[in-house]
Chain length 71, copies 6
Amino acid sequence: MPIIEMHFLEGRSLEDKARVAEKVTAAVVEALDCSPSTVRILITEHKHGEFYVAGKAGRASDQAAGNMPGQ
Amino acid sequence: MPIIEMHFLEGRSLEDKARVAEKVTAAVVEALDCSPSTVRILITEHKHGEFYVAGKAGRASDQAAGNMPGQ
Amino acid sequence: MPIIEMHFLEGRSLEDKARVAEKVTAAVVEALDCSPSTVRILITEHKHGEFYVAGKAGRASDQAAGNMPGQ
Amino acid sequence: MPIIEMHFLEGRSLEDKARVAEKVTAAVVEALDCSPSTVRILITEHKHGEFYVAGKAGRASDQAAGNMPGQ
Amino acid sequence: MPIIEMHFLEGRSLEDKARVAEKVTAAVVEALDCSPSTVRILITEHKHGEFYVAGKAGRASDQAAGNMPGQ
Amino acid sequence: MPIIEMHFLEGRSLEDKARVAEKVTAAVVEALDCSPSTVRILITEHKHGEFYVAGKAGRASDQAAGNMPGQ
């Protein structure tokens, strides 16, 4: 019955979201030995100016590179 | 002082949201014997592709019927 | 498929929690015309010192009376 | 490593959001004596009809004045 | 920079939690092509009486079998 | 009417929590020009094994130093 909330910056495609939901569901099912039907995932995208690290706004272009401020 | 966060799929009218907030507030007040003024409700709507059951995206048309995948 | 997170101060009995979950589920089903089986509720209790209004900690004894600071 | 989620009504400027993120980060760093780089802030704005006090919808115009219903 | 909140019923071992965190992190990194260092996971366990499906409390023994009420 | 959820690792004193709540409330009031009585703060502490960065569990001793894995 896991419920999973994912937060990330705006800019991901529908395919990205579907893929991450599918892979995270599989990871949870394998790790916790539960039925897939019990796994619910909620995604919330945050616009630029709604995600901060060390008080500085993150940008979508930082995501893949991992070069957010303070990382 | 209950704080309640509600998540559901996009597509509800302003009237639906007002009605669910009113009814949930009344339910909390009755069940917990608290003052209405202490009850706060936050609603977050999730777009298609932001809510998954068993790794499959839910659709607004599934909501009333209850025929989400995995249910 | 609503997912509902409820936060309140520690001190409620198991019966209180079951009653609020039952009543809130019924309220959501009636207001949103969805199947009960799609409604999930998560309760998080917060200890004294983990809930603040106007920067002052709330107390369980304030809950019924509605006399939290700032209300 | 604090993670902070802030919810407020839609209508704040990008400057407002940046300022609140900067000030809250500084407050957390000072109070908890942690490194700024460990502080992450997520902001979620709620549209009119997605925030309720005492079962009544809050309005952006209530925010500064503090005259939300039930306050 | 994904932030992931996981909710499940009390009763998982420290090893279960570490394993699900490791596997979910790997799933997110692969699906979103981001750096592992940007992925943060918060787990919240809910006691019996703090998780409800269709208004009925879920039990830890239901988790593996997937036979929660309403599923 | 801001609602703020703070998550951090277990191990903070009641004084730490009260101080961070007081300072964050003041920061929000100043930055958003709202009434203190509209600001609510919820704190959730996470036990060891319930907070992960890059798939590795954070420890309370990492908090002040900011030397979490991946930072």
